[in-house]
Amino acid sequence: MVTLIPGDVTVGGVRLQNHCILAAGVLGTTGASLARMLQSGAGGVVTKSIGPEPKEGHHGPCVAVLDGAVMNAMGLPNPSKEFTGELDGLRGKPVIASIFGGTPEEFGEVADWFAGRVQALELNLSCPHAEGYGAAVGADPDMVEQCTRMAKHTGLPVWVKLTPNVTDITEIGLAAERGGADAIVAVNTVKAMRISTHFRRPMLGNGMGGLSGPAIFPVAVRCVWELYESCEIPIIGCGGVSSADNVVEMMMAGASAVEIGSAVVDDVAIFRQISENLYRQDGGECPENIVGCAHA
């Protein structure tokens, strides 16, 4: 297996403890949980997506664990501005605040709350199951560009998280780049649905949901590959990563780092596990030589 030389990495303006970041919305509702994930080996952590108003989220079932995949429709539950208090114990740590809004102005408003409290912002322009938010905004290149620009006013590095549920993801990636993004995160969940044949209704309370986990890994690798071919800014691969080899594969497709979410269902110690297999002082390769190397 390909292994990497261990060490800090800086991606999209954030100094990370390693290449594996906790993905948004997964164990990111409280400061304590984020701190725990950092202690358990995450190289950085992204918070639950925070929006302009508190939201309770969709009715349950919110999550269905399938064979080789997770499907969720949380509905962006979040405490809004109050969440900033969760970050008090995390000053200086590699924490990235995920934020969302329905308009560039809302993005700007929420972004401001986090100035000075986190290392970067991640714009959730990609949640596939929240009316008027997420992918509803993120499928439109102009909106993506404007939202990015608004968030940049904070002075914080801005990562833009893309939805794979578009005809051409590179168009959206280029829009983020034009807006001044420091990195692209690819991808959020794939729009999906399962139906309980017994109950004759969708398995999730919301009907539609987002697919994550191993099932979408080939889709995420493809998106990273396409973005690497067309964008200049660093890419953070996300979707279905669950092993050190998956991390390497994402990097070879063009990712400078990865985010990991669903894999915590199998084991909350996934970050430590992956690091143990991913890094070798002896025999490890220089990460820079791995990023995008499959494009050669």
Binding site: R201, D266, V268
Partner: protein, 254 residues
């Protein structure tokens, strides 16, 4: 990553425990051990966490939307059960169970499995003392009611104080947050918080350890997956009894 299915079950019996508490017996047994819970899918309404009071039953207190819908169901109706979930109790040696209100639910399975020697059961009033007869058959049961309509007039903690925690190897606790906080204080006083195994309730959206809505301060542990049962030493200086987060993640004081 393997499927965690929501298994359709048919309600085969409904036992009215009190006007606002019912036990729903269903058509299928789950390999639940004491302290395990399930996510109950009430189709069209919500999915909510409930302890197993038996391997084929849950006991539900009517408090809101989903529990109200449950109360409209009759024999032959169907719900979905995802579980068993969580870590459960791990009693060793002489074991005391301390339950208050619907907190008695997971302790019933502990008692019927023969793991509880003694049981302290509390409720507001006599009619709310859950599973009283059954528990008296399989444990040495003491009761307390707030209004004195049955057993000790006062709180379970009064009985616990006289019982001497030092006598037990394990003390399994489930009940209202203030009660659990008080029990923990007694155990801390007695110098043995680690003997206490507290089954916590927090807002749960996924039940499988991915969403983070049920995490507690300051450890960040997930009640649904690392819990719901935690030993007292882990809960010392925690949010227990102080606050909990609601569906949106905002803190609400008790």
């Amino acid at each position: 990553m393997h499927e965690i299915p929501s298994v359709p079950v048919t309600i085969t019996d409904i036992i009215e425990e009190s006007p606002s508490i019912r036990t729903f017996v269903f058509s299928r047994r789950f390999p639940a051990e004491p302290g395990h819970f399930c996510m109950v899918w009430v189709p069209g309404t919500d999915e909510i966490p409930m302890g197993f009071c038996a391997q084929n039953a849950i006991t539900v207190q009517k408090v809101g939307d989903a529990t109200e819908t449950l109360f409209t169901l009759s024999r032959g109706d169907e719900i979905g059960i995802k579980g068993p979930l969580g870590n459960g109790f791990s009693p060793t040696g002489k074991t005391l169970a301390v339950g208050g209100g619907v907190g008695a639910v997971p302790l019933r399975l502990l008692a019927t499995s023969g793991a509880a020697d003694d049981f302290i059961l509390g409720a507001r009033t006599a009619a709310d003392l859950l599973y009283r007869e059954e528990l008296s058959r399989c444990t040495n049961l003491q009761c307390a009611t707030d209004d004195g309509t049955y057993g000790h007039h006062g709180f379970v903690t009064d009985l616990l104080r006289t019982a001497d925690p030092a006598m037990y190897d394990t003390i399994c606790v489930c009940g209202p947050e203030v009660m659990m906080k008080a029990v923990l204080a007694i155990l801390i006083d007695a110098g043995c918080p680690e003997k206490g195994q507290f089954s916590l309730h927090r807002y749960m959206k996924c039940g499988v350890g991915i969403c983070g809505s049920c995490c507690i301060d300051p450890t960040g542990l997930r009640v649904c997956r690392d819990g719901p049962v935690f030993t007292g030493d882990i809960l010392e200086n925690s949010e227990l009894g102080a606050y909990a987060r609601d569906a949106s993640g905002r803190r609400k004081s008790f």
